[in-house]
Amino acid sequence: MNRQQKIARFNLKIAAVGIPMSLITIAISLIAGHILILIGLLILAVVSLIMGLSPVLIGKEPGRVSFDERDAIIEKKVHIIGYCTLWCIVIIVCTIPTFAVNSIPTIALPAVLMVALVTVRLVESIAILIQYGWTGKGEKS
């Protein structure tokens, strides 16, 4: 398993733990009170931060070439998929409230950003694993 796949699997694990936790907290807050919404968003912020920093957390092995042309092509393709996903999310999330309501709370802005970041990283991770074939064999550079 190469570095890209390790990062992708790490992101999937973080998302699998963090997103349900955040959603459950936000769902409970709808019944209980305002403070829990902030806790739910805080969990989402931590998840998005960890997913965003995953290339730094899973660093390169020193003195070893772990990247070839195929990896570069896969990475570029993944970036394009992430780019399209980001635009889809932003357009959907920003256009619907414009026509549905008159005003929105300012806390919605960082929430939109965190949802976009987590979704983009999630889609990118799945795209990486699909392109490498989900397995840990034969993908080493």
Partner: protein, 149 residues
């Protein structure tokens, strides 16, 4: 000058025209109609932004690929992909900056008009176009000489 460069210059031109037009419209709305700044901004950018669709339609209609001619090689593809990745990064940075700045500037627990979201999308679109066009031009060396065809 190849097709990629022509498109990049065209897109930059359209963005400049739209920016100038929206500033002029804003000034007119403030001076003649006595609108507030935010209302004038909303109307000015609203009237000017449909012109931005030219940045998408231009490459499809004005700079169409010529039949029977190959005008794209590996280098052009590499430049286009690099420009796309840089546009992605710039748009991401723009959204992060705008969302957090607005959140802090407007107040952590207050309300903002919903149409601001549409303007954030518009700003992200302009950022992506400008970043893509500038990267393309910088990668080709800005001019029309030295083997860009």
């Amino acid at each position: 000058m190849n097709r990629g460069q022509k498109i990049a210059w065209f897109q930059l031109g359209v963005v400049v025209i739209v920016t100038v037009a929206s500033i002029i419209l804003m000034a007119l709305f403030v001076k003649k109609c006595e609108y507030e700044f935010l209302e004038a901004w909303w109307l000015g950018s609203g009237y000017a932004c449909p012109v931005l669709t030219l940045t998408v339609l231009g490459p499809l209609v004005i700079f169409r690929k010529r039949k029977g001619r190959i005008d794209c090689d590996e280098r052009d593809l590499m430049i286009d992909r690099r420009a796309m990745v840089i546009a992605f990064g710039s748009t991401y940075a723009f959204f992060i900056a705008v969302c957090f700045t607005t959140w802090v500037a407007a107040g952590l627990d207050s309300l903002i008009p919903a149409y601001w979201l549409a303007r954030i999308v518009l700003g992200g679109w302009i950022t992506a176009i400008v970043a893509h066009a500038l990267t393309t031009l910088v990668c080709y060396g800005r001019g029309g000489k030295d083997g860009e065809k």
